[in-house]
Symmetry: D2
């Protein structure tokens, strides 16, 4: 293949397009992670990180992927054989369930159709039935990266509160953090799981846990074996600006720069931008005469849109054509959605014309793949981008 | 103003979007420009640079803008009071004329309407009339950056040849080099003037002269004062891999990387890509019901398109709206075209989806500025990008 | 404090000075880790990585620090309650012991004076006494970062072989990999633990396990809970060029560049360079009239030198003066060596004049701190650097 | 040759080691040089640049080497046949003389021994003799890069003032600007010539003129042909934040970052640092038993030191050995000093340990080249660096 000109469109739902400022920050010389400059850096970083999680509580950062942060949430709060309740909202919810089982937990997995978020009503039922308080934790994925469906965490919280159930609430914000409004404290989340390579606009390599007081107490009783993920030495060291083992210094540099960018734009503006781009994308999908996988308007994702194709089409063929012809990467259908959907990431460091280029590429790719689409789809998206 | 997310669309007709590879090359540590590694580097660079000019003859590179390379072409070949023939193809042709006059040359400036290239027929007449061979040089701008009109250099050459006139042919390729097919040797050009920040995908700061044997001979008789621009010490030093004064080392690093990129894509593919993007852009302009400034299809520019608005509109207002709302820079109308045209650069490191984003932004901006446009324009452009 | 001019001297024994080439590689745009380009990249990377470990067997790379790779080595091969044998060679050996205990293993910890490596004779005794083959694994730190003492792995291997004991051999090469000759296959190591930020010249954020066939078999029986660190999905995915969860893409870019640099220099040359710099450093220490912590010449480290001060001096004061006056970071005394030693890192991307600058700074710092030193120390080091 | 590890020591007297911050700034995306953001950038840049020149008057910046700025100083102020007075302080003074002659000026060149600066007494004589005020300008090199000798500009100024002579004072600060105290206004300089790649810590590619009111008046009468270098359109455009032709955008980004760094360190500290490093270097040279080329202590250069070898030695052989063995570039002997001296640059982004490494390399290289040196030289330098 001939070399390609211009910039690749990385429109998978993460990793996202890393801004130049962040790439440059990552390329600064590594410093002594035990020296005084590093301690100052850590304090500043933590302060800036908290608003993104909507918390004043503790946050720990691991050199890891988001998957590692999933594991940290579990091994720090739970003990072998503990029962946890989880919702089959999609592929990643299923993977988290698998992890919990591999770590020796018993998962009560509420089945789902991969087109809806976690159902607060079912949660209410489950908790009401659990009069012995055997459910130690509720695991919810805030924004299912495989489906583009968000779960309504405040309603999940309300269901737990109404049941007066002591279960911990563990929430995966992998693809919502820094893109979709999220409030660890206000929503009473106990452990928020996050990572670097989506709304935080970094390359992969950092995993996060935001931790409530209640989760810290639970941690003192937790008996799952842990060392790398152990919150205690992490929090102890962080207090002095350090880490129990070598942190991913250069990614942390990038994190600081990304947080500065979010501050400069303003988090409320960031969230509004994602909502607007999601709306424009759905306008395109509907205009093309295609179906958005997410069926409940309350659960539309601000960070990605999964497009469901008619059974006669192969979504991966569409993706392949778009990659080859237009140098754009889209997300594949995962698990049971393989071949049926493709996913458009519109999160992170993104703007109107990048979205217009993205949707133009999708439209052309669909046409080239023989999918009948109404070209009014693109115009409908532009109408959204033209309105303020 | 709130900080902006995503990548700025730099769609002026140069400087162009500098690819990351080139930016990184420029950021390598500066080395000793008198050391053995630098000499090897210079030899390799010169070898790779020649095909872009279509020459096997000498090329010199100045730490300068393209304007400096204009001056070099004049002061090396001409003497005070020499008569030169130039064509008013637009703003930059006029500026080059001004420079020639400031340097003490007498310019015979063939008037033009800024919508056509240099007319070979007029040139033929002029040369035929110049029986005393008083015209020392013919100055032509290959691609007028202010208008998006290319001059047909082979026909210019033919006119000189048919007249058996000894005038030198000096050609400005500032915004065509590396974007539009150009052949210094085959077309018998004596001095080709180029720069770094357009098709070569570099930041500004390098000016070039490609020099024919005939021009070298002329240089030995030239009496315009010169030192910095003097070809002789430059060529002498270059032969040993060095420069008579400190070269712009880091921009030269970037130049090497840019040349590698052009090689990887293949120059023929690069030119075809520019032609295709220009065709798609014109399809959009015509589809919108607007006018392309260039009126002769033989002279359409591959690197930029100037769009002429009806007198009731202010093209700069359109540009301002597009900059504010969509973070895209377009070229302004220069000189007599001020307020009447805006220019879309589609050259350099560019691809289909970047163009689709660009044209989407132009369409939305026109609509927001109250210019009546048919949204079919964008679809027409996509049709070009969808066809192979 | 006033801003500092010039380059910081990062002479801790890791993270090391990251070369510009590697920093630039890390700053390249993140790509789709599920796309075809990434698979090709992964295959190439793995191929290039193996010689550094001296292996043809499997290697896995985690988004983690080296500590994570320690944990991976344990949880993949062992079961709760397993007995392991470890040697107290210094601070990091002690930390690894702690980790093993936290994970539920029983550690037989052979005491040491932190000035010698693991003793093959003691190992032989221990294994001879273990007639029931209760020792599931032997854990050795190849190069103790806290002491600058290397353990003689071939002799350790020989002791195991002679005892015909089935224990696995787990070796930490955190601060030797890519700096000191190491041979996973030839020495019969079962799991080699490595990381990115030392001899591999990367920022922190990658952890490695090289894994023998025997270790893979042990993994099938291992019952410690695991998910993130589980070798099986990692190896399965790697076979297709992918990862079970998002890899640290940009650090992997840097890894590839670092491996190219090691190839260009030649691994044998890299090791010889480290040995030579270590010899020059010891020449300085001895010339100053000070003591090298390592007492056995067979166990001198090629990557760092720990300098033992007389009790009347505070090694951390020396380090503080050097940091403040000369902008150089040195390693502190860890654990029981606190205040007694400082450590000079001379590993990674380093050369003779950087070492001369480093030793000059140490000499001046010692003098400023009131430590009596013979300035002939520096000259002795230069004599080593002057001899071929 | 095998690939080299570690950082090259670029110890020529410019280009100097470019700090990472500046390299990163240069690698930022190029923006529209006619847009509103660029205008703001220009204003800020000019404000920050003035203190480095010690001026409140006008400064222009060319995309050029320093040689271009020499030419600009001449063509803007003088007319064909004008007489100028210059001093043979070394190679660069001679080159500037050559340029003046090539441009049609008549140069009265005061001979020198290349070991002293311009002599204020001779200047006084020359001016006294010039009762017809035929000398239009006095050209002086502040810091001769070929010799490491500074001329005493305040005394030069005093000589002109005492003679009540109207000649303009043109000063080359190529290798002193940003390294050695310099005061355009206070010293009554009319045109100060500077460039980017020395004390300003940038790659080459920018030339500067600081211009007095008197020089601006002279410019209105100057008749040397000029266009690229013409101050008038430059100053007119700068007033609105723009340039008459495309500026070297990315180098200007780097300039801003470099100016921030100079501000952070404080100019007075920057000058003191250079003086201190020069003193340490001379201590080494004298300690080795070698000769510093500069013979007058009032004229010692803060930015470089030229070392004069006994005739039996070949200074270029010493340099070659040092380059090959220690990966350090030193300055060669230029013109009549070829083979007799080598020059150590200690300017720009530099610190104590980089200097210690530099001097260690010089000492080892001298020894390897068979030059008898007393190793006490290095210790003498360290003594300077150890004293506050």
């Amino acid at each position: 293949m001939t070399a390609r000109s211009g910039r690749h469109f990385l429109q998978i739902p993460g990793p996202t397009n890393v801004p130049d400022r962040v790439l440059q920050a990552i390329a600064r010389p590594t410093i002594d992670h035990r020296g005084p400059d590093f301690a100052e850096f850590t304090f500043d970083l933590t302060t800036r990180l908290k608003p993104v999680f909507g918390t004043r509580e503790s946050i720990v950062a691991y050199p890891s992927s988001g998957t590692g942060a999933w594991e940290a949430a579990l091994v720090n709060t739970l003990s072998p054989g503990d029962r946890v309740l989880a919702f089959e909202t999609g592929h990643f919810a299923s993977l988290w369930r698998d992890m919990a089982e591999r770590l020796g937990l018993t998962v009560d997995f509420v089945p789902g159709d991969w087109r809806h978020g976690a159902d607060p009503a079912i949660l209410a039922e489950k908790l009401a039935a659990d009069t012995a308080y055997e459910i130690a934790a509720v695991m919810v994925v805030h924004n299912e990266t495989s489906t583009g469906v968000t779960s309504r965490i405040p309603e999940i919280r309300a269901a737990i509160d109404e049941a007066r159930h002591p279960a911990l609430l563990l929430v995966d914000t992998i693809s919502s953090l820094g893109s979709i409004d999220y409030r660890h404290d206000e929503w009473g989340v106990d452990v928020t799981v996050g990572c670097s390579q989506k709304g935080l606009m970094l390359p992969p390599g950092l995993g996060f846990n935001a931790i409530s007081e209640k989760a810290l107490v639970a941690a003192t009783r937790s008996r799952l074996p842990k060392s790398y993920w152990d919150w205690t030495p992490m929090l102890d060291n962080n207090e002095r600006g350090f880490y129990p083992y070598t942190p991913a210094t250069n990614l942390l540099y990038g994190l600081r720069e990304a947080l500065l960018m979010l501050e400069e734009e303003g988090l409320a503006n960031v969230f509004a931008r994602h909502r607007r781009h999601a709306a424009a994308t759905r306008a395109a999908v509907h205009g093309w005469g295609l179906e958005v996988l997410c069926v409940d308007a309350r659960e539309y994702s601000g960070s990605l849109t999964a497009v469901l194709l008619d059974e006669q089409y192969d979504a991966d063929k569409v993706r392949r054509i778009i990659l080859e012809r237009y140098d754009m990467s889209l997300g594949t259908g995962l698990g049971r959605l393989a071949g049926r959907v493709f996913r458009i990431g519109h999160l992170g460091d993104f703007n109107d014309l990048m979205l217009a280029g993205t949707l133009s590429g999708v439209q052309m790719g669909l046409e080239l793949a023989g999918v009948t689409v109404d070209p009014a789809g693109l115009q409908a998206a532009l109408a959204v981008l033209r309105a303020d």
